[in-house]
């Protein structure tokens, strides 16, 4: 136990203090009100922050719920190693769910395209896992500033029996009074980081010294350029087109997903401070590196209606 730190009376809170306290409140509220909550863990930076907050919320106990990783089997190798290490350090049960039917049918981003792959291996897999384990609440690390349709997402976001979201029929959410009532089979997606921005996330990682997957930091990596996106050749499953030669470039990732669907950015930012510096000056929003958002202006809204996080 550390020596007690005094706090000046009536001390003003910085915005990060406020966001941290709000997120901890939300996480505790779920633990108190739900029978079987779970925390989605995607290995990315937002997940890492969310897990860190969960550990704070219940200290000195470990968080009273398991972690769930929906594995599309196409994540970067570095992500798997990091995942197992983090779950052990948190003292939490880690549930890894893979859509076995999808695997049996050989579904993958190259054979079936990004839309089918994401749907079968991610959206359907997530629904399978939630139903199979009977989770009535699932934490996700989504933020309202990420994408337009997310700006209207509730902190406690109701999902029907089919895990669907109805944006026009959401429960009003007032003060910090969250309504977690569900009937059997229905569930709530919970977003403790709703009010955080990307810069807040980075700043918090910096302030709290939260461990991150090395992929966020620039390094020489083998990449090919396709449709304006830099794809990392993470394993032999990436089919090279005629004439395509992987090139070593100093790149990093602003967001992590399936490696064939996640574009790298050329960068020399190899430390956290350099990454943050790059983030502050960046003029492109972070989901831009993800192929799945590009179809149409409201594509994310359609996916969310169907159960995507």
């Amino acid at each position: 136990m550390n020596a007690p730190k005094p706090l000046a009376a009536g001390q003003r809170m910085s915005h990060l203090d406020t966001l941290e306290a709000e997120a901890i409140h939300i996480i505790r509220e779920v633990a108190a009100e739900f029978e079987r909550p779970v925390m989605l863990y995607s290995i990315g930076k937002d997940s890492s922050v969310m897990l860190h907050l969960a550990r704070k919320a219940f200290s000195p106990s470990p968080p009273p719920f398991p972690l769930l990783h929906v594995d599309t089997t196409w994540k970067f190798k570095a992500m798997y190693a990091f995942r197992d290490q983090i779950a052990e350090a948190a003292g939490m049960e880690l549930i890894v769910h893979i859509n076995q039917q999808g695997v049996d049918q050989g579904v993958g981003p190259f054979t079936h395209g990004s839309r089918v792959h994401t749907d079968i291996m991610k959206t359907q897999a997530l629904k399978q896992a939630l139903s199979q384990y009977g989770f009535d609440a699932a934490f996700g690390g989504a933020r309202r500033d990420e994408e337009r349709s997310r700006a209207k997402e509730r902190v406690f976001s109701f999902r029907d029996r089919h895990h669907g979201w109805d944006p026009k029929n959401q429960r009003p959410e007032l003060w910090n009074l969250y309504n977690g009532r569900v009937h059997k089979g229905e569930s709530i997606r919970v977003f403790p980081l709703s009010n955080w921005t990307e810069l807040d996330i980075w700043q918090y990682i910096h302030a709290e010294n939260i461990p991150m997957v090395p992929l966020y930091f620039a390094a020489e990596r083998p990449v090919v350029e396709r449709d304006g996106m830099l794809l990392m050749v993470d394993d032999e499953r990436l089919p090279l087109k005629p004439g395509e030669q992987p090139q070593m470039k100093s790149v990093r990732f602003r967001t992590l997903g399936c490696y064939p669907l996640t574009g790298a950015v050329e960068s020399s930012a190899s430390t956290l401070l350099e990454v943050i510096e790059e983030t502050i000056s960046v003029r492109h929003s972070e989901r831009q590196g993800r192929a799945i958002d590009k179809d149409a202006g409201a594509s994310m809204e359609d996916k969310k209606r169907q159960g995507y996080f």
């Binding site: 020596a3 007690p4 730190k5 005094p6 706090l7 009376a9 009536g10 001390q11 003003r12 809170m13 910085s14 915005h15 203090d17 406020t18 966001l19 306290a21 709000e22 901890i24 409140h25 505790r28 509220e29 108190a32 704070k56 919320a57 219940f58 000195p60 106990s61 309202r144 500033d145 349709s149 700006a151 209207k152 944006p167 026009k168 959401q170 429960r171 009003p172 007032l174 003060w175 910090n176 009074l177 309504n179 009532r181 009937h183 009010n195 921005t197 810069l199 401070l273 350099e274 943050i276 510096e277 502050i280 960046v282 003029r283 492109h284 929003s285 831009q288 202006g297 409201a298 809204e301």
Partner: protein, 629 residues
Amino acid sequence: MSIEQILEQHGQKDLLRFITCGSVDDGKSTLIGRLLFDSKQVYEDQLSAVERDSRKWGTQGDAADLALLVDGLQSEREQGITIDVSYRFFATARRKFIIADTPGHEQYTRNMATGASTAQAAVILIDARHGLQLQTRRHSFIVSLLGIRQVVVAINKMDLVNYEQARFEAICEDYRRFASKLDIETIHFLPVVALHGDNITRASEHMDWFQGEPLLTLLESLPVSAQRSDAPFRLPVQYVNRHSADFRGFAGTISSGQIRQGDRLMVMPSGRQSEVARILGASGDVTEAHAGQSITLTLADEIDISRGDVLARPDDKPRVADALDARVVWMVDQPMLPGRQYDIKLGTCTLAATPQLIHHRIDVNTLEHQHAEQLDLNEIALVRWQLGRPAAFDAYSELAGTGSFVVIDRVSNLTVGAGMIVRPVTDSLADKSQNVVWHEHKIAKSQRARQKSQRPAVLWFTGLSGAGKSSVANALEQALFQRGHHSYLLDGDNVRHGLNRDLGFTDEDRVENIRRIGEVARLMADAGLVVLSAFISPFRADRAMVRELMEPGEFVEIYVHASLETCENRDPKGLYAKARAGTIRHFTGIDSPYEAPEKPEVVLDTEKLSIEESVDELLDYLRKRQILV
């Protein structure tokens, strides 16, 4: 500036949450789009998406329609309106902001209330061409209802009124007059052109006559609601952390005040006491903590505490009661019906609650109090709730964190309403049996009445000040006494100075005043008396509430009528003069409404009848009704 310095600066920023409100065409989305765009919060790819969308849905020709940055959902873009609350984020060098963007249509009162519930300030848009609209009044009322004390009135589209200062000033004046009826502490006025950015992030080239700061600078300087340092400590217990045999922590977010190690605490509603042993903040042990922080406390003694309890200091505790009056915003199509059981979530405490009666509905456009039997979607009312068990809470106006609740439908699980507590109805003492049962008297009401040769009744005189209520009631009582009847006159002199000494003249206090008088009148009627009551009692709903308390036929509503002009000329206590001069506020007939009875039992026109004639008429009526035998 190095990255460390930038982070240092960013780390120092505080957070201001504000709500924007305006009607459909006031340019609200454009204003927000402009704030985001000018403070460089728009990424290039978002802008190109907007440019693409502008061609499809935009309203600005070939120029990018900044409103599309803000209007999120497909269905909204198709309709060209914002239908839900959406949250936007931006930061300046000094401050981080969260905007709750809410729709302007009347049917979206609930969304505005939602957005306002977490806001510390409100930006209200007015179209300079149209001035104050019904919506402006409604938005301002909701803002005031939800307890927002800082309002910025942005008068938009100044370019369409030739940047005229006179037009701006006239709208400001209108607004000030209207807002004097509301509970808003500070109002700032700004002339803006959201479309072009005038007075948004930079001063306008077209309005030299305006000396104030542009909107963004103003938003950077508004105080972030600093709670009084002497605010009472409240910790609604959220979660009990049972780590080990020697660690039982009570986790929650401090909703007000501060706490130190060693402080004595009382658990409400049980009333048990202990001392703070440890305080765990977000980053380990601390010696003290304050409002807004999420903490875990351990106590020196092992006492029974569970989720839903409130920790407070023994000398400054919340109220504990099993009934309360609260203003309620109804949020679903299915109406709120008195008598139906709901659940409410009050802080961290969820319990059964039944609306017992609707004191009055408040018209969000005119602020009038109306009688209501049920509450429909987007309606607001003062409602009495009976709770399933005693709970600890405060008045919303004093401590919003322990004074607010949401109403949950037990069948559909939907959030159907939001409540702001005005007062407890009965204080039940902590640590004591809560069951006060109506004692069954051995002597029946009818026996008491027979003994007195009369039937009990409540003669309720209502009318404007100066209409003659007290004069007639006094004269009638003398006449009753001379005839050997047993009566008692309740009036301002014997009630306001004693029983209702703690009440003022706000609308809530007036309601409570009448409620108490009604209860006293009921006890006296139960004792067999003919009760005379002479109060202005301006609201129909309140008189209806008293009528409900009595047995059928016992309540006699007597409308003592004289025109406002006559009353003002009579002005027996000089009150009209004071009200006109502005030294008294909320004076019935002047700046507070009088709702005339719809079906009074008796009407006395004191412009035509003398006091004696009025008394004769009443005695006739009472004999005819066999109240006097």
